[in-house]
């Protein structure tokens, strides 16, 4: 107890220079109130439940960890590259590569719909970065050039509002975890309190996975959970469903 208190006190008194504008923007970007449609997706969890692969809280935890590892290995490279080089050319190039990389139709469509919403919201919200709106306008004017996949859009926004690439990649893991846990509560796998406890339990594992897959070039992007990918592809075969993916 004494020790804990001393540690917290030390941390609290640390003098860290804060870019206050950036911090407000960061929090808003990660806030679940931001209307990006993330909560319409279960990342394959709904299909996994209906095919009996996930049937209780313990299975759920395993599912989330696998999902986070796959997010790290497959998508963090795209977030990293666009955050560090948030230009129109880089973004369009990475969007095309990701479009060929997301070979699972369910996942690909989910990525496009979330990415399009996020770009639309960000262009209207972060008006202090006019290039967000101009990049969006240019891309909409020439259809087919960009599909608006989620990970490169997210990285682009982070880069343009001045977030560092470590934070943007960690934030991407956080959002994925947030959205899948939210889906789990609506699928009645856990209650809201249990979900919050679970989220905090998984955080250190998510941090390990983030460290393992951070700062990689897109050439390294890979699938690490082929079973999950197969299951997610079954989403379209479900007779009744709550989620889009």
């Amino acid at each position: 107890m004494e020790h804990d208190w001393a540690e917290t006190e030390k941390k609290r008194k640390r003098d860290v220079p804060v870019d206050s504008t950036l911090q407000w923007s960061q929090w808003q970007l990660l806030d679940s109130i931001l209307p990006t449609g993330g909560f319409a997706h279960s990342f394959g969890l709904e299909a996994a439940i209906q095919s009996r692969l996930v049937s209780g809280p313990e299975d759920l935890k395993t599912f989330i960890i696998h999902l986070l590892e796959n997010t790290g290995s497959l998508l963090l490279p795209f977030v990293y590259s666009t955050t560090t080089d948030p230009t129109l050319e880089k973004w369009q190039e990475l969007d095309r590569i990701l479009n060929a990389t997301l070979t699972n139709e369910v996942g690909r469509k989910a990525s496009v719909s979330q990415g399009s919403s996020l770009m639309r919201v960000a262009a209207s919200v972060f008006t202090e970065v006019p290039s967000l709106k101009s990049m969006r306008d240019v891309s909409i004017a020439s259809p087919g050039v960009v599909s608006f996949h989620h990970a490169p859009v997210f990285g682009l926004i982070c880069g343009l509002i001045g977030m560092d690439s470590g934070t943007s990649q960690r934030a991407y893991m956080f959002m994925t975890m947030r959205d899948v846990i939210s889906a789990a509560t609506r699928l009645n796998l856990v209650g809201p309190m249990g979900a919050a406890v679970l989220q905090h339990q998984i955080a250190p594992l998510a941090e390990d996975l983030f460290k393992k897959w951070m700062n990689r070039p897109v050439e390294d992007a890979c699938q690490t959970a082929p079973l999950l990918d197969t299951i997610q592809g079954c989403h379209g075969y479900l007779f009744s469903r709550l989620f889009c993916s």
Binding site: Q50, S51, R52, L53, S55, T62, I65, H66, E69, S73, R96, I97, A100, T101, T103, N104, E105, V106, R108, L205, D208, L209, K212, A221, C222, Q223, T224, A225, P226, L227, D229, T230, I231, Q232, G233, C234, G236, Y237, L238, F239
Partner: protein, 284 residues
């Protein structure tokens, strides 16, 4: 370094192997009589000395399938990847160019990595707008009959398809490594086989349509079992289809199964529509 090369071209109107070479540890054979003589298809078998890939082996093959030709690449048994010595890994690289109106069919047996094995394979296919292509890429948990399940150190498999101008159409890499917060066995539940089937191009439209319909029917039935009748175990066979590429030219089927036999059966059944093109139906 290159260990093999094959060129297939039209000679007097027939698909013919016009150039080929292979060297240790790879051997290529071209049996003459695989199908009826009126079928225009070249069959190519790859063999490795000692029946498998030894730690440190590096195999690199290049295929050129000329305009209008049909070629099938297959194996006679599963590719075994033996235990690795130290941190040495084994790798296989395949590069193929598929010409206009040509069809290349890659239908091997699965890769089986023994415990501690480290294996990496990369297949790159360069197609033009009217080439056709079938790729089956699959692997098992190991010698699961003798208790080795997902016991290898590393398995990496890359399949890339590019159209003219180096535009990517399909980029896929699966990496399973033991050095991860979650072990491979845990990630795989009770499944022993993971397979991917890619069917691309105009010659295979009928096969694509058939497979999509069959998989949808199979999985819908399986998923509609009322929850009261459901057992607690995972389904023994899961498959899902996705369309990809410009104008939806390609279909990819992903499969997870508890047995190798059921995947052989599935492949045989779903690819049977190719028999007129190849002379023999795949996996028969």
């Amino acid at each position: 370094m290159e260990t093999g090369k094959v060129v297939v071209e039209k000679v007097r109107g027939k698909s013919t192997v016009t150039r080929s070479f292979s060297k240790y540890p790879l051997k290529l054979i071209f049996p003459r009589k695989v199908g009826p003589s009126e079928t225009d298809a070249v069959w190519i078998y790859t063999l490795t000395y000692g029946g498998g890939i030894v730690s440190g082996d590096s195999i690199s093959v290049e295929f050129t399938i000329g305009d209008g030709c049909t070629a099938v690449l297959t194996t006679q048994s599963s590719t075994k990847v033996y235990k690795s010595l130290g941190s040495k890994s084994s790798d296989q690289v395949l590069e193929a160019r598929i010409g206009s109106g040509a069809l290349f069919v890659v239908i091997p047996d699965p890769v089986t990595c023994f415990s501690t094995a480290r294996y990496s394979q990369k297949q790159v296919f360069r197609v033009v707008s009217d080439s056709s292509l079938v790729i089956v890429d699959w692997f098992t948990s190991g010698r699961h009959a003798s208790g080795e399940k997902w016991d290898f150190e590393l398995y990496r498999s890359t399949n890339h398809i590019f159209v003219e101008g180096n535009q990517p159409v399909f980029l896929d890499t699966v990496v399973l490594e033991q050095d991860s917060p979650v072990s491979i066995a845990e990630r795989m539940h009770d499944y022993q086989v993971i397979a991917m089937v890619i069917i691309y191009g105009p010659k295979l439209k009928h096969v694509q349509d058939q497979v999509q319909e069959n998989v949808k029917r199979l999985m819908s039935q399986q998923l509609h079992i009322p929850s009261s009748a459901k057992t607690n175990s995972d389904p023994a066979f899961i498959a899902s289809c996705s369309v990809f590429g410009p104008k939806g030219m390609g279909v990819v089927i992903r499969i997870a199964s508890t047995t190798t036999e059921s995947v052989y059966k599935f492949l045989h059944h779903q690819l049977a529509g190719m028999q007129p093109l190849l002379g023999v139906s795949p996996y028969s």
